[in-house]
Symmetry: C2
Subunit: 340 residues, 2 copies
Amino acid sequence: MPELRKDPIIGRWVIISTERGKRPTNIGRPERRVHPHACPFCPGNETATPPEIIAYRKDGSEPNKPGWTLRVVSNKYPALIIEGSLTREPQGIYDRMNGIGAHEVIIETPLHEMDLADLPAVQIRDVLWAYRERYLDLQRDHRFKYIMMFKNQGEPAGASVEHSHSQLIATPIIPKRVAEELTGAKKYYDYKERCIFCDIIRQELTDQDRIVAETDSFMAFEPYASRFPFETWLLPKAHMSSYIETEIDMHTELAVILKEVLLRLKQGLADPSYNYILHTSPVGDEYREYFHWHMEIIPKLTRVAGFEWGTGFYINPTRPEDAARFLRELTIPKETISVW
Amino acid sequence: MPELRKDPIIGRWVIISTERGKRPTNIGRPERRVHPHACPFCPGNETATPPEIIAYRKDGSEPNKPGWTLRVVSNKYPALIIEGSLTREPQGIYDRMNGIGAHEVIIETPLHEMDLADLPAVQIRDVLWAYRERYLDLQRDHRFKYIMMFKNQGEPAGASVEHSHSQLIATPIIPKRVAEELTGAKKYYDYKERCIFCDIIRQELTDQDRIVAETDSFMAFEPYASRFPFETWLLPKAHMSSYIETEIDMHTELAVILKEVLLRLKQGLADPSYNYILHTSPVGDEYREYFHWHMEIIPKLTRVAGFEWGTGFYINPTRPEDAARFLRELTIPKETISVW
């Protein structure tokens, strides 16, 4: 059973999950490219994963058989497990609880060779919609305080399977990074009575020099104090604290701008590995005046990250304004990011 | 001029340093091993670095000429620069200041082929002593609030030059990670009236199962809530909030245990890249009842780090107790870690 252990000094919970360490590809050098017929996420290999939780199928095909366009399954090597009780307890001066949670994999496409950025926008919309659908299901479990959706693209960014997928982790605690954002945003709200993200949006739309892409309802920009070169945030322009407030009609537009941003990064930075993480309001308190959901996209550019990783001190060698201009000025053919 | 920019939401300062981005080896793939005669840190190439700030020389040789055993120079590609004034100012809703600070390189040995772990303990003692000596000089500059000593060993850990070296950065702000530790430790002290690190030491000495190495005055252990596999902390057993309280007689012992820990990591984990960071009390307020200096050593094991890096959520696949036993049970010949 995985464990959650609390750092006694700064209060951060860490998952100790030895099962996950036994994953065949977890330790060591990058594995060779898996031939599709051996890929657990490819059609025809449905039995190589735990049974599907949901799947999108257009042809009325059977569960756990080919025919799906998107599939959500439990992670075969979960960081947290769903069965059991939390059991908070002391261990000397330390604190621990059982590693209860959900860890799911969203298989984004049946096509092994396709990256998320290359999928039609409608397929990306389905991925984004699946996040929301899984969220709405998992939020009913009162043990969960937070549901985090994220994607690791490429081995340097931590992906252990090449076939394009995202992940979802539901946790019995609020991750530290999210808690910090909530606290910071609350403090600003208490002082200004405005959402800090809404103020940032206004500032960015005025300055214009950190904007990467924009649609009617969404914008993508390089944050003023970007930690990493080409760090890009994507968020709704109107105040919306939880991702679940984003309805289906907005999801198509979100898919279009996400695709555009990913294509700009891919084209401009020679197909980098990247992570993105969806930051949304915690479970059970989704509607807040002071928080604003957003997606943080971080390309993993070799070398640049080493320094920061080690010291916890961020040194960014690329001005966000320069990164934004570079990305903005790339020519992405309009038809590439059309919906279908 | 580098800039310090503040994240408006969580209050973290980030260095935007484009000069650093122009370093020849900064972006892209690992460079080839530099042949010693082209290495800027090798004897004979002293003019390839800025002039030395201090050097240890046993033979009375001239500054900036061969003959040194250790050399401290300004970083040729500094993240922060020493000349100028801080000039804090708003930029719309954002906050910035000039990137004032010191960024130095400690060249640990004249021998290009030697890792820190392989140096005689007396030479490691000199490295550790140089940290203290530089600290004592830089703390007199009232613009600096924090002085951070750290080492990146190996390209995956962010080292851009192969020749063994550490770095020092003096900053006009307290780095977020340190501020969090101070706040957490203070909270504990306010409640318990004891240093949390001293309590952790007591707990670890009782439990014994996370101890990696021990001397009369120091201990190395795997923290209860380790973020990374084989994350190892090294600290003085007696309360000591600042690294500068550690006198020369203790430095030899510190060098011996640091060498032992680095050798255990090197032998057990096939010579991993690693980072270490010295956490000490901020400048100007070095003597605190609630803080305790320590060194955090983090081997960079491929793949394992990707997940955490992207999500800000730590999943550790190795129980600290298992990591400690593995490291403790390795046979390191006693003569290897002798002082001379």
